[in-house]
Subunit: 346 residues, 4 copies
């Protein structure tokens, strides 16, 4: 049996947390050592999340647990603003960190402060932190001490646009990302807006004036494009638990290019990106519980607008699964390790 | 008590049909005389639709019912292609007709044949037929013998764009209509794709290469704009029963114009269009069971892209309710007559 | 036009409240004068509940509003324990009251204190209060100053059992009421357990050791049966917004009795109880938004167990609609007044 | 790497089929050799079920495939009535068979004919067939050539009652099994009744006069009880994809017995039965995608009615997972093999 690394999870009481724990309990190279929660310290994790009964005996620990610094790797599945307080000490103790929140996703501390409403607590780490989108950044992830795991909308949207921007075949102005998310993206906190009676049988856009994922997506696209990008991003809340569907629109510069081939070539060696056959319409459920991003490229009516359809499970490729993929890269394991289970359908 | 007109419904076994019947049973100026269905002839309507038990005693009649020609008004709630076979004879008999299907929505018979896959059976009537979007066409509807009730996507999308195109403040090229529909839009027919186990907990785009509502929307927009319009229309199937959310994107020409005022002025006297306060995000459920279209206008980040959010109940303002509104206009009644009930929430 | 009474609503921010307001805005004999809410005082009601935009201009008032005492009738749509503090003063001011909460449902103050965890604030009124189940208590309701509107589970369950207990054809021991409720029964308050991500795609029993509706149901059944009744009541939370399905089991004493005729005779003149044809399976959605209770009686395999299926909309016949029905009785109007709309399907 | 057996699946186009295939693709001792479907022969399985893209390269074969007889084990995931035509030849060829349909569940051919509406095609095999409920029948399963995999309702119901009947602590008359199922139990076939628009936001009982699982459950209970059992079984269709919740009621004979201890003792060594702590309310979602049955025992109000709450995923412990568990027993592997993944929550 292969050796295992010691892994800690900070903030394991949300949906990202329970999904991360579910995946970690099955990972052959991981020993799940400690899961912290201020509110639930001392309580069995499987009492809060009954799906874990019979799969995990651990109790939640207090968040200042000494045990974290003895881990090889710590995941933060906390609200934004928590990780930046604790990460420096862990790095000093030689622990590698993957932050599933937003603390290290933006490289510009001023921009971060503007969108997150407070000063960054360790802005010196922003430059070191590696943006953990493997399809864009694999080699840097391998060496990273600190990985900023991408947001869910940014994952689906950037994977839809990377091939087009890299190849320079679209207008960098006027890009539209119309995104639809399941309700689990809003987290597991008591709130009227996400009650079943408010959010089921309903659909609405939200945060149209500005959502925190906008600067994150723009930063990624501009890095790829090598220049300014004009992006309109509109997220929608849709009546399902899991799933993101990004519908991305851009104007084609190069009408002769075979877009299907462009996408297939770009993602040929990616273990978790599935370029579907020409004419396909990917379904969010085809990724449920798994780390896939499935893509389809269209040019409706043969006009010069390209439409890319991109689906992920927001809790997996959009959060916990991508974090596992990053861990696998950081330790040099097969990227699929612990992520081989097919999606659950129906 | 006011006098009542005799009304017939052809094809009352679908979702549009049952919604139309529900509204007609409560309309104070209507006597519901006959409802036809080939498959269900002789069966009580309330046996098929148990919500109508205690509200309607009628049985389905055979579709060739003599009784139709004795009506003042006949609604067609049939699949496309049925109305065009029967409408000429009814008009000859002096019956007015509102077709909730697509037979008379396109003015160009060639275009119709191309999108519906057969020749039109009475193309001479296409010119006479009035497109029944009251906010665009009220005076023509008043006099019409034959009204083509708009599709659900076209209603939500055109109401989002009318003020902008009429005022000439947007680029007529590069308009995007990203639309999300509940499953009832697919109708009440046995089909794997719309089973609960296929369509719940799932979201997908469909018909991206080309949907029949595309030429209908384009025809309406071009009529308003007075020239060619470049439109990309992508419909999505979302896991709810009722509701359409159209998210419409266009490039602003005139960055100085007060868009909120433009919309409020345009729709000030419309009984069923609700321009919501600046910064709003309309919810589909806020229209459930009622004839409202609720709109909000945004300019994210102050850039030159205008985003209009438009919600309707696809079975009401997108079908049966709009048909009732058209009837009210045709007979000179208050447009709200029979449509006063507030939406059902939660 | 008929004269209207002045009506107030205390606590209009929950689901029972918004449903009551929706129905009251359409009632031809009601002038909705005041709606109170401590938290929302001053805010337009239609801002909280966007379905009411265009249907109601009222703002919430502070709960101590003088205006309440000038009403003819005040509805309490508050959490349990609020009405009993305010009702005595209103009655003294000559206002009639319908309490949609539980404060006056139990006649025994000791039992009330035991189940609601505090002493009753005006136990002297418990005897005067009339239990507002019209099918059981119509004549007393007509004269009442104070009506205790029944709970949702008790309405569905008692209507299923009344004919059987009145006729004495079942064993009064060993009755089982297995009840399934939509999530709106849990109210509109921020809570993790009723988030879409917790309550959709899920089903569970709750409060099996004892639910507050147990003594209410037992009190009603014993009053009808004229003696002790042995009842096991198990409520379940099911993934839908509205609806209660009570499945009631009892042992038959009299195997010769025609149960279908018994039910049909008992409810022949009831405007809101629909005894469905032999062999039927009522669906909760067939009552959505309307005041119906639909019932079916079965004797599976011809054995001596009778199974009654009983469905209601928990917010209508189980709350707001029944309150309107009680108002109609109290003022001598047609019981259907303001409640004529068919259920919404699909 | 361990040796693998060759496995075939007949009828892999339904929900039981795709779940079985999902589990088999991950099983370390299985080589999935052939999947047959008359309708889909030649088509890639992953085209029909997009969750399998990237996990399975197989195409559907014609149902008379020679390849089946070269398998070590064949699963039938067909409608009832198919397996009995093909099983004799496969057994003759030395292939072991697990039938997930109902062909071999009843031991009495007359009873089978009565409930399934035709004569049994190989009634001589009914005696040899082993009823595949491991918790009841493990040693017989180990040796079986032909296993009749239990139905979903029977699994949840029998596991709720086994300890009580074996210990003789309940009245064998008057047992009530009120069961609630997700819609996937109805299968993946085009049908109006299970459309999202019919089955979501709705709940109904069905087949109250008699459901095919009634004789199956009764047969199992009588075998355990050693005598006649009086059972009323009422299934309900509930608006979710997966999950069964059985709520079982019985009258206690022995009021002194510690029921919690009885259940814990009975299931202590069962790998897939989870007796939850006293006072628990199991949730269906706590089993989603996994082979667990979770149970809780209650005696409401201390009376002499015992209430057992039992939840499973109908497609896993109620079908495909239990079939895998049976295979593991038949080949002497760890019963958990290939079934270790925790349930998916949320």
């Amino acid at each position: 049996m292969a050796e295992r690394i010691a892994v800690g999870v900070v903030g394991g009481t949300g949906y990202t947390g329970v999904e991360l724990i579910r995946l970690l309990t099955q990972h052959p190279r991981v020993h799940l050592s400690v899961i912290t929660s201020r509110a639930e310290a001392g309580r069995p994790v499987a009492e809060l999340f009954p799906n874990l009964r019979g799969h995990l005996d651990l109790c939640f620990s207090a968040p200042d647990s000494e045990a974290l610094s003895r881990c090889d790797l710590v995941f933060f599945a906390t609200p934004s603003g928590v990780a930046m307080e604790q990460v420096p000490a862990l790095l000093d103790a030689g622990v590698r960190v993957i932050d599933l929140a937003a603390d290290f996703r933006l490289r510009d501390a001023t921009l971060w402060a503007q969108w997150y409403g407070r000063a960054h607590a360790c802005s010196d780490l922003l430059e070191e932190a590696v943006y953990g989108l493997p399809e864009m950044n694999r080699s840097a992830i391998r060496e990273a001490r600190l990985v900023a795991n991408p947001g869910c909308y940014p994952t689906a949207t950037q994977l839809a646009l990377l091939p087009l921007l890299e190849a320079g075949v679209i207008d960098r102005e006027g890009i539209i990302a119309d995104c639809k998310s399941g309700v689990s993206g809003a987290g597991r906190k008591a709130s009227v807006a996400t009650l079943l009676c408010e959010a089921s049988e309903n659909l609405k856009a939200y945060a149209v004036p500005g959502h925190r994922h906008l600067p994150e997506i723009r930063q990624g696209l501009e890095w790829v494009a090598g220049g300014a990008v004009g992006l309109t991003f509109v997220p929608h809340l849709t009546p399902m638990i899991r799933g993101i569907h990004a519908t991305v629109y851009a104007r084609l510069w190069d009408r002769e290019r075979d877009l299907q081939a462009l996408f297939e070539d770009r993602y040929r060696n990616e273990p978790f990106v599935d370029v579907m056959p020409l004419g396909s319409h990917p379904q969010t459920r085809s990724t449920r519980g798994a780390n896939w991003c499935r893509l389809a490229v269209h040019r409706p009516q043969g006009e010069d607008v390209v439409v890319v359809l991109s689906v992920i499970d927001n809790l997996v490729k959009g959060a916990a699964g991508q974090a596992i993929q990053n861990m696998n890269i950081m330790w040099g394991w097969d990227e699929r390790c612990g992520l081989e289970q097919p999606p659950l359908l129906p």
